[in-house]
Amino acid sequence: MPRLLHSLLGLLGSALISVLAVTGAYLAFDSVIERARSAGTAGGPRSVATLAEIVQSRHPEVERIVRSASGSVIAYYFEGDRAGAELLDPVTGQAISPHEPSQLTRTMTNLHRALLMGDTGRVITGICALSMLVICISGTILLATRMGGWVALLRPSRGTAVQRLHCEVGRGAVVGLSLSALTGCYMALATFGVLPDGSSSVASPRPTPSGGERLAVSRLAALQSIDLGDLRELTFPYGTDLTDTYTVTTVQGIGDIDAATGQLLVFAPHGLARQIHETISMLHTGKGLWPLALLLGVSALGAPVLAAAGVLIWWRRRRAVPRIPQNAAAKAADTIILVGSEGNSTWGFAVTLHAALTTAGHRVHVAPMNNQARDYANARRLLILTSTYGDGDAPASAKSFLQELGRTTPLPVAVLGFGDRSFPNFCKYAAEVDASLRGRGWPMIADAWLIDRQSAQDFAEWGTMLGAAIGTPLTLVHVAARPKTVALTLSQRVDYGAESQAPTTIFRFVAPPTPPHAGLWQRLRGPRLPRFGAGDLLGVVAPGSDLPRFYSLASSSIDGVVEICVRKRPGGLCSSFLHDLQPGSTVEAFIRTNVTFRPGGGTTPLILIGAGTGIGPLAGFIRHNRRRRPVHLYWGGRHPASDFLYEAEMKQWLANKRLTRLVAAFSRVPGGAYVQDRLTSDAVELRNLIQHGARVMVCGGREMASGVAHALGAIIQPLGLDLANLKSEGRYLEDIY
């Protein structure tokens, strides 16, 4: 409930509340500056009578002296027909400067009060203040829950960078924001008269003064007894009208003073409502209490940060979780499925499992692993489906799972891991979760199962096993969701390798042209590829298959073509399909970004290493090396006469300095060598480059990659470095298939 309220109000109110917060912060700092300009006002050594006398000697036609809530004192007067106002030094009574109300401050005030929309705006700001209060309270409850209780509220926060930002800023700002919101609610209600503010729309009738000659203002006994710190406003009698009085408003009340006798004629003390209103106004504005104004201002600046981070968190959470029909509530479900997923593929399996269990009569709750609850009241089992990120790390939707595992009440549990057996750390995170659960004594329904390359068959087997273990026969038929593709037309193919029994082709595709008579809507909505760069992946869906095959892109959006380099594999469905294509035919394809395999900016040298079709993305990087960064390319093929991919382009790139050095190794020539052999023979040069910050990028088959890793490891050892060092610095990147 607090989360729903927090998200809903936060999302709806983020923009308006940010406007109110920023304007509020401006006003708070403005009042601190205003106070600083008329420094040293607290009380002041003078009585109001003395100050009035000094002002009147300078401006005989002084009309009014006002002491604002933030402590500045302003005198309003006439000189002939010219109206004037000046800011006073409250200690000396001398003018500091002419008083010119700031246009910016006025606009900020009106924006803050009513969004420049009059009474409608006042209602909206009132609603915003109430929303802010609810957001503060629900946020504090959520934070306490997340940290593990109220006593843990101040411990260091956890989670992603954005979550930590939201927590830290929230914790710092919540007191100030709550105070602003609460007092803001009161101000809104008082404005509309729902709560009394003690103001009266009816003036007290004019008292009858003695009507004698006026005394000098400094001799008025009633004014002599008023301390400047208590003054709100002093109004002088009008012109030469002897029937007029001085009217003085103080912190305590409002009174009329006989100008001839100096005696107080009437005095009406402020009611309780007015005193409450003044106190709450002070708490809301910080005027007259500058450290509070600073606190409120700084806290208010946190609000837009919180709003932005909060919206981002909500958006990420929402994007991470697909829509699941009939998802049971966490407390009602008998079976809980928690999903750890970096992309979205694992969710597909969770949805299949959820549907099968639901059909079998279970009440099933699916959620990301990060959203684990403390207590699943009716749950009888927990099923964890998780992939692994990078070298065995938790995927995005499971980042906080292990840290918070201790708080969840143990249940019978089973872990299903997803990964790719060709990677060294196959399903490492799933194994870690399994071990943690065992370590904490959770009862295991079954040993951890690991699924290789999204195998529907493995998944079905696991389903059968699970069904037997929980006494519910389960048939899991997983059909991977087919990605949304665009039809690309083959515009050119360059064939290599026929002579060395390794047909390899560079394919260049173009996105379908927009029909000449297409309307704007069609042009915008027409099939198109997102932006991409060399090193990103092209997923190709061959006819008769739903499983895409991925190829590294050798071109970028700006090249106007989609270029890939593909070797025909014996029995390979997708590569055979591609190799049979003729210019003009089309393929269904989509882009998947691969941000980790990018050369990055900077001027440090690049060492590009590839073999066979691994040249693709490397060629793309060289082609776009407009800034002539030093690039050293090591590439391995079979025979220079047969599969020297990009040979003509290489010569051109060497000539125009986009490529510094090309070292090619061919295996099927007399005295043949692999690319790693060339590395070893260039050890001194490479060591020097790496010592000077060079970045290494490797693309190609697994065997080549391990050969290269081995060779490079030996090369950099004398530097006291190993590949793990380079990897952790992001200076050794691999794209391996």
């Binding site: 109300p101 503010d197 729309s201 009816v202 003036a203 109004t235």
Partner: protein
């Protein structure tokens, strides 16, 4: 009750057509035009009212500004109208912006014209000045059509009969 009836008979507003018709014989329409200076602040509160020759409040012609809690800043008018509190419902409107002109037509009884009464205007602006009796003009045929300016926010005021 008698007093209320007589006041309504003397000063009525066009927005109350039945009353205006009823008193058409002994009253005439007067157009009040108040142009404010471009003082650059929030909307001004303006009270236009009648007093007798001694400045004693007689009746309200028009109030611009809808939040009653700020009325005490229209000092002379607010003090004068004590007891008349309930009788401004039909004569209030929105505050008048900087540089704007307020033009209203009211019916004023013939008995109040050329009889020593005065039209007075109080103005006030938030975080600005309070200007009680900024304008004082005799309610006479002779003064009609002659613009006068105030020392506060009123650049020009005139009434036309």
């Amino acid at each position: 009750m008698n007093k209320i009836a007589s006041t309504l008979g003397l000063v009525t507003i066009l927005t109350l057509p039945t009353l205006a018709l009823a008193s058409a014989a002994e009253a005439r329409p007067v157009t009040l035009t108040t142009q404010l200076r471009p003082y650059g602040g929030n909307g001004a509160y303006v009270a236009i009212y009648l007093t007798d020759a001694q400045g004693k409040f007689h009746s309200t012609l028009r109030v611009a500004g809808s939040k009653a809690k700020y009325y005490t800043h229209l000092r002379d008018w607010a003090r004068g109208r004590v007891g008349e509190a309930a009788r401004i419902d039909g004569v209030t409107g929105a505050s008048v912006g900087s540089g704007q002109t307020l033009r209203v037509t009211v019916d004023i009884a013939d008995a109040l014209i050329d009889a020593g009464y005065q039209v007075r205007i109080d103005t006030a602006v938030e975080d600005g000045r309070d200007n009680p009796a900024e304008i004082v003009v005799p309610m006479s045929a002779e003064a009609a059509g002659r613009p006068v300016s105030g020392r506060g926010y009123v650049a020009a005021f005139r009434f036309d009969m």
